[in-house]
Structure formats: structure tokens, C-alpha cells
Amino acid sequence: MDEIAIIAPEKRLFTPFNIVSGIIVLMGLIITVIRFTKGLGAVTNLSDYNPWGIWIGFDLLVGVALAAGGYVTSAAVYIFGLKRFHFAVRPAVLTGFLGYLFVVIALTYDVGRPWRLPYPFIMQSGTTSLLFEVAACVSLYLTVLFLEFSPAALEWLGLKKARKLAVNLTIVLTIFGVILSTLHQSSLGALFLIAPSKLHPLWYSPYLPVFFFISSIVAGLSMVIFESSLSSRFFIDKMDSAHIAGKDQLILGFGKAASVVLAGYFAIKVIGVSAGDNWHLLATPYGIWFLVELLGFVALPCLLYAIGVRDRNLKLIKWTSLLAVLGIILNRFNVSLVAFNWHLPSNERYFPHWMEIGISLFIVTLGILVFRFIVTRMPIFYEHPDYPEEH
């Protein structure tokens, strides 16, 4: 009797979450119709000067960076042998998979003729383009993530043979995933290498690909922490004892790693400024903005992570992960929007249309909904009882 009483309210259709997400989905669908009937001009503030807006700046650049948790966690567990965090692989891989999936979905809104997205592979390949590399790696990595995630789905479906095959591929897929991630995470930064005259010199650097790659590790680690703290609040009923017992260790371990990587990231950002000899630009408004990013969203989280790990202060680490994630978002926005086209007069600059924000929200909401659908059904936060200790 008691059990039924607890579950019953969950099944109610009109929870606040459902209402809000329902509205967003409805809005998203309407904007989708406008987008594909009236064109990009009707729903975006994109212009000939500003061909890329938040659908690239947020949905693609931020989306890919924040979905880095997948390769970071599986590399940590399978390649570096941190087996005690094994329970965290599936949620991270799922987030990664969904992240990339929705990046691709978001791209179908942004590109002019989305059905031609496979053209670089089937018509003619522009191999001199970094975007080609990004496209190739993202599509391959999406496949890899799908395969990495497939055991959970196959367990849910009860397809034991197929599942066994997929599980056997784990280590190969993990290595493949790290290679592809290294390539496309850095290539996203390298996309901007071709426009030194448009990107502010404080952000433009020949090291852009390195910046993007290193910061993607920070993003991956921080997202796993951030997400694990959210999941343990909302999906704790889905978690098995191993997961619950290990998550604090996970937060401490990943926090420590994030602190170290952030320190390295800070160092190479400083090297970037020195290499370009751009110190004098720090005194300009853009320089102050750069310092806000560097000190407030790189140095500060680095320090806070370190303090949190030393004091075993889980709460601090969790909040720091949010700060670090915001820092990554800020960085990607700065490179793609704020410091891009900085030479143009302000009336030629880009500011997103509300419908662009609407689609971004729509995609994020869809991602959350699918995530919820999967974790409530498939063995993500727990081991499937039929396959104990099989890794």
C-alpha cells in the first residue's frame, strides 16, 4: 500500500516540470515550423557579418564541450584503471551520447540545407577545412558513443548476445573515443584559426586548438561532478548501493583532477597572451573582460576545487563545478560571439533573437526529457541484476 502512495504523484501528468517543459516543447515546435518554412532570417538575428550565432556558439561549441564527460570518464575508468568509478561510466556516456545527438539535431536548424549534412562524406570532401575534420570526428564519435551506450539499452531489451558483443568492444571503443574527442574538441577551437583579423587578439592564438582540448577535459570532469550531484538529488531512487557509496569518492577524485587540469589550462592561457605579446591589451575593456574570464572562471574554480578537495568539502566542489561549467560556456561565447567581429561597430554586432534562444532551450529540454526517459527505464544508475560484476 505504502509503495503505491509514493509512486502515485509521480504519475501525475501536470507536474510543474511537465508543464514548463511542455510549453517549451510546444514553443520549440512552432519555431521549428517557422524556421523550415520562412528560413533562418525569420527566426534568427544572423546577418552577413555574423553568420554564426548561439546555435553554433552555444548548441555546438558549448554542447560538445559539456558532453566531454563521456570520453573523460570512460578513459579514466577503462584506460587509467580507476575501476572504483565504474558506476559513473554509464551516466557519463549517456550524457555524452545525448549531448552529441542533440548537437547534431541543433545543427539541422542552423545549416541551410540540413539534409545535405552527409555531403562532405558522400559528394566531395573539403579536406582542407577544419570543419570537415569536426564533421568527420563528431559523426564517428556519435557512433562510438552509441555503441558504448548500447549495452545498457540491450540489457533493457534483454538481448544478451548482442550485449556481450558490445561489451567486448569496450576498450577499443574507449581508445577510439579519446582519439576522436581529442581531434574534434581541439578542431572546434581551430575553426577560428582562419580568422585572425576577426577574433580579438586576446582570444585568438595559434594555441586555440590546445585551449579548446584542455578546457574540454575541465568541462568533462566538471560536468560529471555537476551532473552526479543533480542526479543524486533527482534520481537517487534509481541508484544502486555501489553508486550511492561511490559518488562522494567520485566527486573528490574528479574535483582533484579538474583542479590540476585547470591549473595547466591557466598556464597555457597565460602563455598564449605572452606568445602574442598582448599584455598591453589587458588594460582595454576587452582586456578586463578577458581577465574576468581568466581569473574568475579559470583561476578561481582551480583554487576552489583545490580547497574543496583538501577540506573534503563536497558542497564546495559541487558549486565549483557549476562555476567551471559556466566558465567553459563563457569561453565558448567569448570566442564565437563576444570577441568575434570585435572590430565592427556595435550596430553591426550580433545579439541573439529570442527565437534562437527558444530553440536552444527546446533542444536542452528535449535532452533532459530523453535523459529522464532513459534513466527511469534502463540500467544507468544501477547494475542490471542479470549481469552482475561483468566488466
Binding site: 541551410g112 582542407t128 577545412s129 577544419l130 570543419l131 578542431s187 585572425p196 583579423s197
Partner: protein
């Protein structure tokens, strides 16, 4: 005249055939490229330009572009700074130089047809090509519409049909490639009443430009914009005032766009080749560590067992010895007492 014209047409023909036959276009590769020999170009002399916008009108006509909001004869259009759009491949802007005490300067903007175009280098479906005539052409039939070309172009030239829902194109000046192949002049060049635009072989135009600078040294800045900018362009400019003052960037450098990304691209195969080695190595080390750990564990367990066994055996031995001793003692005692008893009994008997 007739000879030069025939030569000209012959050249056009060969250039056309060349473009059709050869698929390997180096202009977007990472090799240093100084332009196709004998390729065509246009020289724009802003000292001669009077802002009549005949070029805009001609461009509109030869490319069948939609009628503009304000007619071409309306000079008030020049009050605002304009850029190329999906409906205008070229625009003329007026730059007021009252501060320098001179009359306004007019400057025409359109695709500069770089020798090594950033757009071609950036396109992931090779929709842009530097052709042997000098024109950078665009193939809408493969374009996905990612607009990376627009991001890449240092001159902010390509425009996009944002209002076209299903088949939007990137739009830019074609240098009138079809007309060039027919032996005609580009529309704008043909229409310019003051020959502020000159069409010809790039090498010849550079000579003409130098000649003008030498002949009218006070009228020109001693620089041919486009001779080296971004690795050189097929549309070059002369000016009487600093190019920066007529809306042209002088900070672009002379490095062609493909060189900017070649470093990052060259790293790709290295990562693809070395990462598996590295990661497998790390994996192997991890595995080995695990294995060693396991072995050590087993050993420890074994030795522990052995030690316990030894101790146990020792104890048993001791116990056995003790027991034997005790046995002997007991026997001895028993014998003794039996002897004693017998002695006692004998003495009692005797007494």
C-alpha cells in the same frame, strides 16, 4: 588589336578547358601558391571612381538580381555605409574625407577573388574553387549552408540568403566568370564610365598600377592593395588616401588563409597515429599494474598460509614432544611407584 583580341580569346578558351578538365585545384591546399599564370584580375582605382554606381547597376543587370529598394540613380544611398548582400554582389561606398581637407573618396567592394581563398580553404564540401581564369566560383549544388566561408572571409564578402527556407545559397561576386569565358568584360568593368575598373592579366595590371603611381605620385598612396594582402588577390586597388580610411583593412597581413590552419590540420594524422599507441600503452601499464598487484596479493596470501602452517606444525611438534615426555614421565613414574611399592612390600614382608 585583332591579334591581341584573338590571343585573348584563345587564352580564355584554354583557361576554360583547363578548368573543365583539371580537378586538382591547388589554390585551397596548404602549398604556397602565387596565382595561376596568365590569370585575370581587376584593378580598381578609387582615385578615378566618382561613385556613380553604374557598376552596381550593371552587376544587377548581368546577374539578374532583384530590383533594389532605391533606384541606382538615387545618390542618397551613399549616405549610409553598405556591404555586399545576397541582392548586391558589389556596393560602392562614399568615405567623407573632410577631415583631411579633400573631397569624398569612393570605393567599390566585391569579392576580391583571393589567389588562395579563405572560403575555399574553409569549405568542407569544396563548393568554392579558385579557377584558372582568376575567378573564385561557388557551386550551390553541394553547399550545405554551414556559412563557415562567411566566418573565414577576411573581407566580409560572402552573403547568405537568410530568407530562403529550403534552398538558401551563399552569394558573392562571380567576377562574371561566364562572361569572361565568352570573351566579354565583367559587367561592372564594362559599365564604368571613368575606367576606374580595368580588367586584364594580373601581372599586367600590377604594372599599370605601378605606372600610375609613378606618373601621378601626389595622387596615389604608394601601395597596390591586393598585390600581397592575404597572399594576394585578383581584385586590386589603388587609392589616394590610406586604404584604412576608405574602409579597407590594412592589418590582414600577407599570409594566405590556408596557411593559418595548415598547422592545426597537420597535427590530425599525428594524433590519429600516436594516440592509439599512447593510450594502449597506458592501458597496458594499468593492466600490468593490476596483474602485478594480483600476483603480489596471491604471494602474500600463500606465504601467510605457509607461515601459519609452519607455526602450526611447530606447535604440534612441541605438543607431541611434550606429550611424549609426559608419557615417559608417566611411565617412569608408574615404574618407579611400582618399584617403590614392590620394595615397600618386600620391606614390610621382611619386617
Amino acid at each position: 588589336m585583332s591579334i591581341s583580341r584573338r590571343k585573348f580569346l584563345g587564352l580564355i578558351g584554354s583557361a576554360g578547358v583547363g578548368t573543365a578538365v583539371s580537378n586538382s585545384v591547388f589554390a585551397a591546399s596548404n602549398k604556397h601558391f602565387t596565382g595561376y599564370p596568365e590569370s585575370f584580375a581587376v584593378l580598381h582605382d578609387s582615385v578615378r571612381c566618382v561613385g556613380c554606381r553604374q557598376c552596381e547597376e550593371a552587376c544587377n543587370k548581368v546577374n539578374d538580381l532583384p530590383e533594389p529598394d532605391q533606384p541606382f540613380s538615387d545618390a542618397s544611398v551613399l549616405d549610409k555605409k553598405r556591404r555586399t548582400t545576397a541582392k548586391a554582389y558589389t556596393v560602392v561606398n562614399r568615405h567623407d574625407r573632410a577631415k583631411d581637407g579633400i573631397a569624398p573618396v569612393f570605393n567599390k567592394t566585391q569579392c576580391n577573388h583571393c589567389l588562395e581563398p579563405a572560403c575555399a580553404s574553409a569549405c568542407f564540401v569544396k563548393a568554392f574553387k579558385k579557377t584558372k581564369t582568376g575567378a573564385v566560383t561557388y557551386d550551390a549544388s553541394v553547399c550545405v549552408g554551414c556559412r563557415y566561408c562567411m566566418m573565414a572571409c577576411p573581407f566580409d564578402i560572402p552573403a547568405y540568403e537568410y530568407d530562403n527556407a529550403l534552398s538558401p545559397k551563399v552569394v558573392k561576386c562571380t567576377m562574371c566568370q561566364p562572361r569572361i569565358l565568352e570573351g566579354k568584360l565583367p559587367g561592372c568593368v564594362e559599365s564604368c564610365p571613368r575606367e576606374a575598373l580595368v580588367f586584364g592579366k594580373r601581372d599586367d595590371l600590377i604594372k599599370i598600377a605601378r605606372n600610375r603611381i609613378a606618373r601621378y605620385p601626389k595622387n596615389y598612396v604608394d601601395h597596390i592593395y591586393g598585390e600581397h594582402e592575404m597572399g594576394g588577390t585578383s581584385w586590386m586597388y589603388l587609392s589616394g588616401v590610406a586604404f584604412q580610411k576608405i574602409g579597407m583593412r590594412e592589418d590582414l597581413g600577407i599570409k594566405p588563409a590556408p596557411e593559418l590552419t595548415s598547422g592545426a590540420l597537420s597535427v590530425v594524422p599525428m594524433v590519429a597515429a600516436l594516440w592509439p599507441v599512447l593510450l594502449t600503452g597506458v592501458y597496458a601499464i594499468t593492466k600490468r599494474k593490476e596483474k602485478i598487484e594480483n600476483e603480489e596479493k596471491n604471494q602474500a596470501v600463500n606465504s601467510a598460509i605457509k607461515a601459519t602452517k609452519a607455526v602450526a606444525e611447530l606447535k604440534i611438534g612441541e605438543a607431541l614432544a611434550k606429550a611424549e615426555k609426559e608419557q615417559e614421565e608417566i611411565v617412569e613414574k608408574a615404574v618407579k611407584s611400582a618399584v617403590d611399592n614392590a620394595v615397600k612390600a618386600n620391606t614390610e614382608e621382611a619386617a
